[in-house]
């Protein structure tokens, strides 16, 4: 503990709230991502169940297709933040690849505002769409007609986590540009 406090006092470090934010958000999104990655098995299970129940037992279930779709949305939106942390996202790297790490971070920390801008509007849309679904008890247009607010809420949470992670990545890039330690 005391060692940590000493480190915090040292110059050349990012301010401690920033470091706490980065540590906290990264840990949270890693945990969420490690759970979300098992979503592949759940999707597989639902789809196999659909095919067995329909073909072998001749009982088609109304809910399987939508359930699988909901799982898919949850999978990539909740896992998104962790994939951002792992740097899984493709970039056009003709120039990017030739730059020094610091130059890369410099450009990333500038264009991060564009990324955050997009995510804020995604989140805003998510909020209003979820609020609408809650208020009017919106149901999907289908035979199963599930309530839409639970999945919309999960999707909005996923986008929110993505936004938090984008800000965390921004702080890490900024730290590299101004030459300070963050971790």
């Amino acid at each position: 503990m005391s060692a940590e406090r000493e480190q915090a006092a040292k110059p050349g470090m990012m301010p401690s709230p920033v470091r706490a934010y980065v540590r906290g958000v990264d840990a949270m999104n890693r945990a969420v991502g490690k759970v979300a990655m098992y979503g592949v098995f759940v999707m597989m299970g639902v789809l196999l169940f659909a095919s067995v129940s329909r073909y072998v037992f001749n009982i088609p279930f109304l809910w399987v297709i939508e359930m699988a779709q909901f799982l898919m949305a949850a999978y990539y939106l909740l896992g998104g933040a962790y994939s951002l942390q792992m740097e899984s996202h493709v970039r056009m790297d003709v120039f990017y690849e030739r730059w020094a790490p610091r130059t890369r971070s410099f450009w990333d920390s500038i264009t991060a505002f564009c990324l955050v801008f997009y995510l804020i509007y995604l989140l805003r849309g998510g909020f209003s769409s979820t609020a609408y679904a809650l208020q009017y008890g919106q149901k999907n247009y289908s035979a199963w007609a599930p309530l839409m607010w639970p999945i919309k809420m999960i999707m909005t949470v996923g986008i929110g986590l993505m936004l938090l992670q984008a800000i965390s990545v921004f702080f890490k890039d900024l730290a590299r540009v101004i030459g300070r330690e963050i971790e």
């Binding site: 592949v40 597989m44 196999l48 493709v90 056009m92 990324l115 509007y121």
Partner: protein
């Protein structure tokens, strides 16, 4: 400002954003959002989220994580390694034999998986080190792996044809069958090229030395053939059951994923480490594709709002007075050109909705066009400066392979693929014969 100018401005802004090296989904999503706000004001603020709902309703998209998971399962568990050894022994004695074996391995992987990522991962981790160790020319083998893995989106199952089928509203079963012969045609052209080139320049791909071949007994050789049972079982349970109407499209991809897991488990290859790597890489790559598609859908929605489909039709037919086939060639050329600089998945989502209605109204067969589209996609995947296969190759290749090598390696293969594309345009039956045989009606190419 005219709509054409706005559309051009959008593309230009996107290019500038991409050059900065920001993640593709962020760059495209940002351009879509800001243009929607500038064009339509506050009412468009919820447009970015609307595309998540569009995506939510695209049921066939579920094939994407299934195939990605399956690909990594095959590569991480080492099943693909067994398969490689089989081809290695059987094709080794030919000039350039190991490169030919690698191409055949890629065909087998392509028939089990709907993306080129799986072939890239397997090619770079299994085949590449082996080929380099045996003094194969590095430029040659890099090209073989990139071109071979691109077959993943042509030979059924194919995620690109699923996406095309959704956008063009065409049956995926017919599209998949239409991809069989064009895929095999391209593979044969690759093999012919390797064979001829290595016959003329033996140092590029020496055959396996005689001593080494004699070390492997005939019994051993036939035992290795058992590795070939795995793809047959997976292909039957996945594509076979789908074409027989037992499983639906999406279910068949889940069956494939299950089969790959079961085979790996049966062979005792599933460890904690294999599972962890498979799940993590699947999550990363699935999210990468899904977020790009999400942003591209928003971009496409803005284009749609601008009336871009009509604008292109007026430009091609009325202003330039082009013949239908000229329009077709122009479309392919612009697609390859744009595919060089822009993200290929995003291009598919943005451009296909613009081109497909025009293709149908000109009277071309949309199934046949789907195949042309996929070949063009394959080329776009490989051409610098932007291509997924290039991107993946760079991430996976050993350090002795430079970017220059990677860029140079694709030249002959891009030429071969262009030849293949031309052949399919001139002889549409290459694509249409199988679906018309299976579905029992004569498909008309509309030429």
């Amino acid at each position: 400002m005219s709509y054409e100018l706005i559309a051009l401005l959008m593309f230009a802004t996107m290019m500038v954003m991409l050059v900065t090296g920001q993640r593709v989904f962020g760059a495209i999503g940002f351009v879509a959002t800001i243009f929607a706000l500038l064009l339509w004001g506050k009412g468009a603020a919820e447009m970015p989220f609307a595309s998540t709902i569009t995506l939510l309703n695209w049921y066939p998209m579920l094939t994407l994580p299934m195939f990605i998971y399956m690909g990594y399962m095959l590569s991480e568990s080492g099943i693909a390694g067994d398969l490689y050894r089989m081809f290695h022994v059987w094709t080794g004695p030919l000039p350039g034999g190991l490169a030919i074996g690698t191409t055949l391995l890629m065909v087998a992987i392509s028939a089990m998986n709907g993306l080129s990522v799986a072939g890239m991962a397997i090619g770079a981790s299994v085949a590449l080190p082996e080929l380099l160790k045996r003094n194969y020319d590095k430029v040659m083998v890099t090209g073989v792996i990139q071109a071979g893995s691109s077959l993943g989106i042509m030979i059924p199952p194919s995620v690109v044809l699923v996406l095309y089928g959704m956008i063009a509203r065409q049956p995926v079963g017919q599209l998949w069958l239409a991809g069989v012969f064009p895929g095999l045609l391209l593979a044969s052209l690759f093999v012919a090229y390797i064979l001829i080139r290595c016959k003329l320049q033996p140092h590029l791909g020496p055959p396996l030395p005689l001593e080494e071949r004699q070390q492997i007994s005939w019994g051993e050789r036939f035992r290795l053939l058992r590795a070939g049972i795995v793809p047959l079982v997976i292909i039957f349970s996945m594509t076979g059951l789908f074409l027989m109407g037992v499983t639906s499209l999406v279910e068949s991809s889940a069956v494939g994923a299950l089969m790959a897991t079961l085979v790996a488990w049966y062979k005792g290859r599933i460890t904690r480490e294999v599972m962890r790597a498979t799940l993590m890489k699947s999550l990363g790559v699935s999210c990468m594709f899904m977020w790009v598609i999400l942003a591209a859908l928003a971009f496409g929605a803005v284009f749609d709002g601008l009336g871009a489909v009509k604008a292109i039709e007026i430009l091609f037919l009325d202003k330039w007075g082009l013949e239908p086939w000229q329009v077709l060639v122009l479309m392919q050329l612009t697609y390859i050109l744009m595919g060089m600089f822009l993200d290929d998945t995003a291009m598919l989502i943005i451009v296909a909705p613009l081109y497909v209605p025009l293709i149908i109204s000109l009277g071309f067969n949309p199934i046949w066009y789907g195949v042309l589209y996929t070949v063009t996609c394959q080329i776009a995947y490989m051409t610098p400066p932007f291509g997924y296969n290039l991107f993946l190759m760079r991430a996976m290749a050993p350090p002795e392979i430079t970017i220059r090598d990677i860029y140079r390696s694709i030249i002959p293969f891009v030429l071969i693929m262009t030849l293949g594309l031309t052949l399919i345009i001139i002889f549409p039956q290459i694509a249409l014969w199988l679906p018309s045989l299976y579905y029992g009606h004569i498909a008309d190419p509309g030429l």
